[in-house]
């Protein structure tokens, strides 16, 4: 027990010293190695596709490259669509590769939107790719993906 205490004091002294020494900082944290997409995500994607091809086009996903806190990351999605009765976006799905639940939300639009646009704030458990998949009135699927580096989401101070 005594040994532990000494170690601990020394460690604390070192930590305090390191905190006060001149510190070199980077503008942004570098990408940690990206984990492969979770099985849950792959499954959610398969269910959503239901045999249809998901093509990478027409969707723009605006997600901050660097999320300061994974508790709330504001994103914007735009889809190139005339939004007419005959040709419009029916649903925009947001999928996460690493969250405990792959589907973050679904947004159902009508031609009355005038523009295929939605913005919301999401939780990101960790650095990952987020996918925006648009389901059109003709049943076709289009997507965009973006990566967000999540700076420590856990409490730094517990307060």
């Amino acid at each position: 027990m005594t040994l532990v205490r000494v170690d601990r004091r020394q460690a604390l002294a070192t930590l305090a010293a390191s905190l006060l020494a001149p510190v070199t900082v980077r503008a942004a944290e570098s990408d940690p190695s990206m984990k492969p997409p979770s099985a849950l995500y792959l499954q959610a994607r398969t269910v959503l596709a239901n045999g249809r091809e998901i093509r990478t086009a027409r969707v723009t996903l605006d997600l901050p490259r660097l999320a300061e806190n994974g508790n709330s990351v504001t994103l914007k999605i735009d889809v190139a669509s005339p939004m007419t009765a005959a040709d419009h976006v029916r649903t925009i799905h947001i999928l996460s590769e690493q969250n405990p639940i792959a589907t973050i939300g679904r947004f159902h639009l009508t031609p009355r939107a005038g523009r295929a646009f939605v913005s919301t704030s999401v939780r990101l458990a960790t650095t990952q790719n987020v996918h925006a998949i648009a389901e059109m009135s003709d049943g076709s699927l289009w997507e965009a993906q973006a990566e967000s580096v999540v700076l420590i989401a856990a409490c730094i101070d517990g307060g």
């Binding site: 639940i101 947004f107 939780r123």
Partner: protein, 105 residues
């Protein structure tokens, strides 16, 4: 009824595309089991529906991945003077409604 905030332009011309933004106070408890933590059961707003002059123009299904105090923005084409009515429903079946009138002279 929870505090909610809807921002819509006061007036718009017929055919104009207006942006609508809304916030509601809700903790969006995920119910996920964090290691070593006592987790509260899930309590999130799961559905938001929006009508304009009585007809549905927008609907959202929220999952626990939507951030606390949910924010959403979308657009609609101004047609007639009418109420834009938001209805949020959570896991405890608590319903909050809030409305703004869009005037289309």
């Amino acid at each position: 009824m929870r505090p909610a905030r809807i921002v819509v332009p006061e007036t718009a011309k017929v055919g104009e595309i207006v942006e609508i933004k809304a916030l509601i106070q809700h903790p969006m408890v995920t119910g996920h089991t964090a290691a070593g933590a006592n987790t509260e059961p899930r309590d999130i707003i799961h559905t938001l529906t929006v009508t304009y002059d009585g007809a549905e123009i927008f609907r959202a299904d929220f999952m626990p991945g939507i951030a606390a105090n949910p924010y959403v923005a979308f657009t609609t084409v101004a047609t007639v003077t009418g109420d834009i009515v938001f209805t949020w429903t959570d896991d405890k079946s608590e319903v909050t409604t809030a409305a703004r009138t869009l005037r289309v002279p």
